[in-house]
């Protein structure tokens, strides 16, 4: 059922895309510059972000099953809202967990980064314990349109395996690592993984 609805919403996106943003019209307005520059810019930004997200949507579905550690889904009614479930990498305190990420895509995407935060609670130096905010350069100043939502998720998984204790958002986790108390860090992060990221949300990746 879910897949059917997905497909419907995908075709809905195509038709609404072509209805609202026919490419030829855009090209004409670009050529003739009939619109006020700032409005033109705005319209283009919204058009490219939709078109780009739709390409990512197709890519995610084409590669379905290719990446077992990431399950990325788009909101049925809003192509700017995505949810990701990522598996904690092996040989880390997160390895049994499945973590939910909320992905909010701004209209200027992909010229500006998506906003990604942890919904599932996690104890990690670079993730804010309360808000789930992630401290990762590519989500801030080092963003580039070369990244995709999928590769961002891969980067977040890499961050779980390689915590940066020197620029912590979660000072407690950072301090444990910086003081060399790896055992303390492991047991804390493992405890939160077990409390919050195992089974509690149905263990999404691989389940559908």
């Amino acid at each position: 059922m879910t897949t059917n609805r997905r497909q419907e919403s995908a075709s809905h996106v195509i038709s609404s895309l072509s209805a609202h943003y026919p490419c030829c019209n855009l090209k004409k307005s670009l050529h003739r510059s009939t619109l006020h520059p700032s409005r033109l810019t705005q319209q283009c930004a919204s058009m490219t972000s939709r078109a780009r997200l739709f390409k990512e949507y197709k890519e995610v579905h084409r590669e379905k099953g290719g990446d077992n550690d990431i399950q990325l889904t788009c909101d049925d009614t809003n192509i700017y809202r995505w949810t990701a479930y990522i598996k904690g990498p092996v040989d880390t305190p997160y390895q049994e967990g499945v973590f939910q990420l909320a992905v909010n895509v701004p209209e200027q995407y992909p010229l500006v980064p998506p906003q990604v935060r942890f919904v599932t609670k996690i104890f990690h130096p670079n993730v804010h314990f309360k808000t789930g905010e992630i401290c990762l350069d590519i989500l801030k100043t080092a963003w580039s349109p070369a990244w995709t939502l999928q590769s961002v998720c891969r980067a977040v998984i890499a961050l779980l395996a390689h915590p940066e204790a020197d620029s912590p958002l979660n000072c407690d986790a950072g301090n444990l690592l910086r003081s060399g108390d790896h055992r303390g860090y492991r047991s804390m992060s493992q405890m939160y993984t077990r409390l919050c990221a195992v089974h509690s949300n149905g263990g999404r990746p691989g389940s559908s």
């Binding site: 283009c44 990512e56 401290c135 801030k140 100043t141 580039s144």
Partner: protein, 301 residues
């Protein structure tokens, strides 16, 4: 450390602004700057620089005098970290528009195809750059006159000032530059290691691909090679001493691999520490045809 005491609220401060708030603030500062200068400015006589450095160092003033012998005008690019790519874009397209070089347009199209293949071979998903590529190609075709899609010099200026079009072309150049550096990583590695501790891939990720990252020799070599466009950079800096020997203005020509090194680049950039602008040859010493055609273009449109 008493860990249990912290279990309820690890993480600390609540009142700090979130990173996206900091970023938004940063963007507002940039927007305020943006009101002061277009992405690409108007063509101004070189004498505006004399005005700028009136109270400045004598070395600058001496160099400006030398500069004025060969160059007549300057066009500024906004100092947003993309000034090299933006100056390159405008300078290249404007020159093509002025001399109507259809053969060069065709050559560039081939070069772009190769760049595209390079990126795909490197594993870059095509959808991440195809829009930027298309927008650059559109600008490229526009400069040849006599078609429905042709652009006047005025329109070209407008396009290069439009945030969307302009940034898309800059982004395309960033992709091309990154692709070229990674394709010839063995060649670029020593340059990159000399500047930073990064690997080639890391360097591309953090210093080439993100918008607003400033350009260096490595970027210029890579873009010039990949697109096959020679670039001259004229340096206006503090180097040299008035009391020493006569002051000279350094320039460096970036000539793409396989091209005759005696070639005279048409893309000429003025470098002042941390910033690139576009430089124009003096009307009488350069190709006279340029000036007359340029004037006729302005009249015509």
């Amino acid at each position: 450390m008493n860990v249990t005491e912290n279990v309820t609220e690890p993480g600390g401060e609540q009142d700090r602004p979130r990173d996206d708030e900091i970023q938004a603030f940063h963007n507002r500062i940039r927007a305020a700057d943006a009101d002061k200068l277009e992405l690409v400015g108007d063509k101004e006589p070189l004498s505006v620089l004399e005005e700028e450095y009136k109270a400045g160092s004598p070395v600058f003033l001496a160099k400006l005098l030398i500069l004025k012998q060969s160059y007549g005008a300057i066009r500024r690019a906004r100092g947003d970290g993309n000034c090299f790519f933006r100056s390159f874009m405008f300078s290249y397209l404007e020159h093509l528009l002025v001399i109507q070089d259809e053969a060069e347009v065709a050559r560039m199209e081939k070069a772009i195809e190769i760049c595209k293949k390079t990126l795909i071979d490197l594993g870059q998903a095509e959808f991440t750059f195809e829009d930027y590529l298309a927008i650059f190609v559109e600008q490229l075709h526009g400069v040849i006159q006599g078609k429905e899609t042709s652009t006047s010099l005025e329109t070209l200026v407008e396009r290069c000032r439009d945030q969307y079009v302009s940034n898309c072309v800059v982004m395309f150049f960033r992709f091309v530059t990154s692709g070229e550096i990674r394709r010839r990583s063995e060649f670029f590695e020593p340059f990159i290691q000399g500047m930073s501790n990064m690997s080639v891939v890391q360097f591309c990720r953090s210093c080439v691909e993100p918008m607003g990252e400033e350009s260096d020799h490595v970027h210029i070599i890579a873009l010039s090679d990949a697109l096959g466009v020679p670039v001259r950079v004229v340096y206006l800096d503090q180097s040299g001493d008035m009391n020493d020997k006569p002051v000279t203005v350094n320039k460096h020509d970036f000539i793409p691999e396989g091209m005759n090194t005696a070639v005279d680049p048409d893309v000429i950039l003025l470098y002042r520490p941390g910033h690139y602008d576009i430089l124009y040859r003096r009307g009488n010493s350069g190709n006279v045809k340029h000036t007359s055609l340029e004037e006729s273009n302005v009249e015509h449109f």
